[in-house]
């Protein structure tokens, strides 16, 4: 058994300097964050806060499973689904309309302007849109629908514009050369090419919007969230617990359904 030479010891350490620097940088950022927020983790995990936490959790059980209340939850769930479905549908329509100028079909100036609009629509969170729409349209699910539609048209518009730009131009060009109006050439040649993609994007966004629609009610935009906010503000914990369980079930079911559909598509589509 020999011993390691100095050169070997140095080589052993020579492992990716910038990896270590990155790790160090991230560690400093995380540490700064905790320090800045002055969140004291040890006090959060102390026995005292643990027992008060346990008391807090116990207040939520057992959940209220009364028939009357369950009917209200069912209504809230349907409202949530309706908000998400309608919001996504409106967004898909608006997305197609905005995607045309954003893909540069009506000149460069409009392209830049539409892209800015799309970026703005998608960078404002759904919940902020909801708070604004409550002012514009009053409390209730309609405000939530509009909020989802606004944010989602920003997202879908960008995705649709990308598919439009990537679609092969030859089929439409063949039609316009044959004398068809550009709008008709688009409808007959380009749209069928990208429709499956548009549908897939919209369905994927709908899935995310269902999750989002459950919380829009916190600012008064309808659905399960509005019920939860209301019950919690009245300190009705058992009722709140049932609503949270309903949200959980909704999210889990949507998750499972979309996984199932994706698996089936993969099998049939090859």
């Amino acid at each position: 058994m020999s011993t390691a030479t100095f050169a070997e010891r140095r080589a052993a350490l020579g492992l990716c300097v910038h990896c270590w620097l990155t790790v160090l940088l991230l560690a400093v950022l995380v540490w700064t964050s905790f320090a800045y927020l002055s969140v004291d983790l040890s006090s959060l995990f102390s026995i005292e806060s643990g027992s008060s936490m346990a008391r807090f959790i116990l207040r939520f059980f057992p959940p209220d499973l009364g028939g009357e209340f369950l009917r209200r939850i069912a209504r809230g769930t349907i409202e949530t689904l309706a908000i998400s479905a309608l919001g996504t549908l409106l967004a898909a329509g608006a997305g197609v309309l905005l995607a045309l100028p954003a893909a540069g079909r009506f000149g460069a100036a409009l392209k830049v302007a539409t892209r800015f609009l799309l970026n703005f629509l998608r960078s404002v969170p759904e919940l902020v849109w909801a708070a604004l729409m409550v002012l514009a349209a009053g409390l209730g699910p309609f405000a939530g629908t509009l909020a989802l539609a606004l944010h989602t048209s920003g997202v879908l518009g960008r995705l649709f514009a990308e598919s439009l730009e990537n679609a092969p131009p030859e089929p439409a060009r063949a039609l316009t050369l044959g004398g068809a109006a550009p709008a008709l050439a688009f409808a007959y040649a380009t749209l069928p090419l990208i429709t499956p993609q548009l549908v897939a994007y919209s369905l994927y966004r709908w899935e995310m919007n269902i999750r989002m629609a459950t919380v829009l009610g916190f600012v008064g935009a309808g659905g399960l969230g509005q019920m939860l906010y209301y019950e919690l503000s009245l300190l009705h914990e058992p009722q709140a617990c049932s609503i949270i369980l309903a949200m959980l079930a909704l999210v889990v079911l949507v998750d499972a359904a979309s996984a199932w559909i994706r698996r089936r598509q993969m099998r049939s589509g090859g």
């Binding site: 990155t22 964050s33 905790f34 959060l44 309706a82 309608l86 939530g144």
Partner: protein, 276 residues
């Protein structure tokens, strides 16, 4: 075409009409439930409120006092996302390792402790499902009740939801790559933690890191709105300004949102390049 036949109809016509009718039948109740009523937008009272509010958007409030307040809230938002993601990682790493089949010692053979292994994996899967199935804003609302107002509630809310998401994705990443190195180490008597570090991490580390950074980016977006339920950050400021119908402040803050999201995008691209 032989004469005597009626001119042929589009064989799909009937089916298409049926689908269109069905779509309308579904759409109608949806419109009703969602209380879809565009006229609301043009209701005189709403128009007045919104008009006055939008009128104040220009000029945006750029006073030093307000900008200082907004800067502080922005820092708080970023810190909340970063601290929350760090805690989520701490929560997700052990759960993800426990869930991963490729690190199961009892599956070799199969050997002793197989039932316990299966039971613990099922339990972990259930915990992760509950953590990520409840939206982060609901967790935040609950944490505000438990810990009081402030960013601590937001940090914990992000840690819980994102811990659930990260844990699931971590275990998927660990299973999708080349798992044979870890399996070989387990077969020569190594423990599961070291089998992970020596067998899986070299291959999967980059993907794990890049997914975590992606989640951090999502956490920034999430923590922007945490304040609407009282969990600190920009959202709280936004909530106050909106309740006071102060358009100038709101327009400034919308611009900050835009900048923040773009910056988080750019920073996460930069970090991912650094790790590559």
């Amino acid at each position: 075409m032989p004469s005597g036949f009626r001119p042929q109809r589009d064989p799909d016509a009937l089916r298409r009409a049926g689908w269109a009718l069905a779509a309308l039948l579904v759409l109608w109740p949806i419109l009703r439930v969602a209380e879809f009523n565009p006229a609301d937008l043009f209701d005189a009272r709403n128009l007045e409120v919104m008009g006055g509010f939008l009128g104040q958007f220009f000029p945006p409030n750029l006073s030093i006092d307000f900008l200082a307040l907004a800067l502080k809230a922005t820092m708080e938002t970023l810190a909340m996302a970063t601290a929350g993601t760090a805690l989520a990682m701490l929560l997700a790493a052990p759960l993800g390792l426990m869930l991963s089949h490729s690190l199961s010692i009892s599956r070799i053979g199969p050997g002793p402790g197989r039932g316990a292994g299966r039971a613990s994996r099922a339990l972990v899967r259930g915990v992760l499902l509950v953590l990520r199935g409840i939206p982060e804003l609901v967790w935040a609302l609950l944490m505000v009740r438990a810990f009081g107002l402030g960013p601590a509630a937001g940090v914990i809310a992000i840690a819980l939801t994102y811990g659930g998401m990260l844990g699931k994705v971590y275990s998927e990443i660990l299973e999708s790559g080349d798992t044979r190195p870890a399996r070989e180490l387990l077969e020569s008597g190594s423990g599961r933690l070291m089998a992970f570090f020596y067998g899986l991490l070299p291959g999967a580390g980059q993907e794990l890191a890049s997914y975590t950074i992606y989640r951090w980016e999502c956490a920034v977006r999430a923590s922007v709105v945490m304040g609407f339920v009282g969990a600190g950050g920009l959202g709280q400021l936004m909530d106050q300004s909106m309740k006071m119908l102060n358009g100038g402040e709101v327009s400034t803050m919308l611009a900050i949102f835009l900048l923040l999201v773009l910056l988080a995008d750019a920073f996460s691209v930069f970090l991912r390049k650094l790790l590559a």
